[in-house]
């Protein structure tokens, strides 16, 4: 809002079975030299669909502003999907907006590699998901982070093997 202000948005979205999620944020820069970060993690399992839809708007007066957005998607199995729609509206020439998106998949080969090292499929999936969400979970207060990790575990129960 005001000059030099900072905004941050971190999210983890998980869809399982036939769930569909369309999540995201609007980050509107009004003041000069404002900065924002958006990190969004989407996990799709089963027939789940995950969509990130986010708007980064930088007004004319918000000169020298910066935004960094990162959208990572993780797919479990081959019946789910992930989509990323970043909307960027930048009305001046001195601001910098970066967007990065990745998609990765927990594949059979990864699960077999883990199994060969003694790690069960369930443990392997939760290890990979925790690694995937690490950037966001680390931002949470400790108690909440523990809850969030457990919730991910429960929501994904039975998706593998």
């Amino acid at each position: 809002m005001g000059d030099n202000s900072v905004g941050e948005f971190y999210s983890v979205a998980l869809t399982n079975n036939f769930q569909q999620a369309d999540t995201g944020t609007k980050m509107i820069h009004l003041g000069k030299n404002t900065r924002s970060t958006v990190i969004s993690k989407g996990i799709s399992a089963g027939h789940g669909k995950n969509t990130y839809r986010g708007l980064i708007k930088i007004q004319k007066n918000a000169t020298e502003s910066r935004n960094y957005s990162q959208c990572d998607s993780l797919l479990l199995g081959d019946k789910c999907s992930a989509h990323t729609f970043p909307y960027l509206e930048i009305k001046n020439h001195t601001s910098k907006v970066e967007h990065e998106a990745t998609t990765s998949k927990i594949g059979e080969d990864q699960l077999f590699y883990c199994a060969q090292r003694g790690i069960s499929a369930e443990d392997a999936v939760s290890m990979i998901i925790n690694g995937f969400c690490k950037d966001v979970i680390l931002k949470l207060p400790m108690e909440f982070a523990v809850e969030a990790q457990k919730l991910l575990g429960v929501s994904l129960e039975g998706t593998v093997g």
Binding site: E108, A115, R117, G118, F132
Partner: protein, 260 residues
Amino acid sequence: MLTIRNLHATVDGKEIIKGLNLEVRAGEVHAIMGPNGSGKSTLAFVLAGKPGYEVTAGEIIYEGKDLLAMSPEQRSCEGIFVAFQYPIEIPGVANLYFLKAAINSIRKYRGFDELDAMELLDLVRQKAKAMNVEKGLLERSVNQGFSGGEKKRNEILQMAVLEPRLAILDETDSGLDIDALRSVANGINTLRSPNRSMILITHYQRLLGHVVPDQVHVLSQGRIIESGGRELAEELEKKGYAWAYEQRDRSVSGAAGVLQ
């Protein structure tokens, strides 16, 4: 410790291993050589229990137990380790964390207490030093962005940490430059012990110059056609695999066979 009898295995309905016999005793190092497509990697995956590799006949007895009845993670917990020809990348999971998960699930299976973070760090650092692996590798995601040499060295590090009883190294020497080959070979030699057996799967003789095997086998079209000491590897290198086929044909039919 490992007995393979008349093993037949198929991948995608195609028979790759056709009646393979192999006996590995405790502490022995066996080298399996053979041309591309002879079934070397298939053998490694069959031993590890990879899904899609179906055993249609024969048996594998490992330390008196029926190996084929075990799941892949059970085999690992029982002490079987396969160093992959193409190690798999796991983005977002730190190498150290992966090792922790592996060692603790194996310890749990064997009835030991899990290691805490400090004990683990000590153990891994000490092994990394012995295996000549830079500490930086431990913080990076498993195999992601590793060079060919780093991946192979990482496999050897995992082997050192997990202390298997039977290690199968699937072309751990391929794609390495001379220095990397030497350091991987040193790692393997350090891990040689009277109660650890190894099967080295390789194309070339050059690894065997650094790691001297007790026995060398030549695999062709899904079966072992020739076995001998390390001289066999040298002879193969000089004369090529065609020579081994000739030997086989001579011993099978008593007359010089026709080469395909």
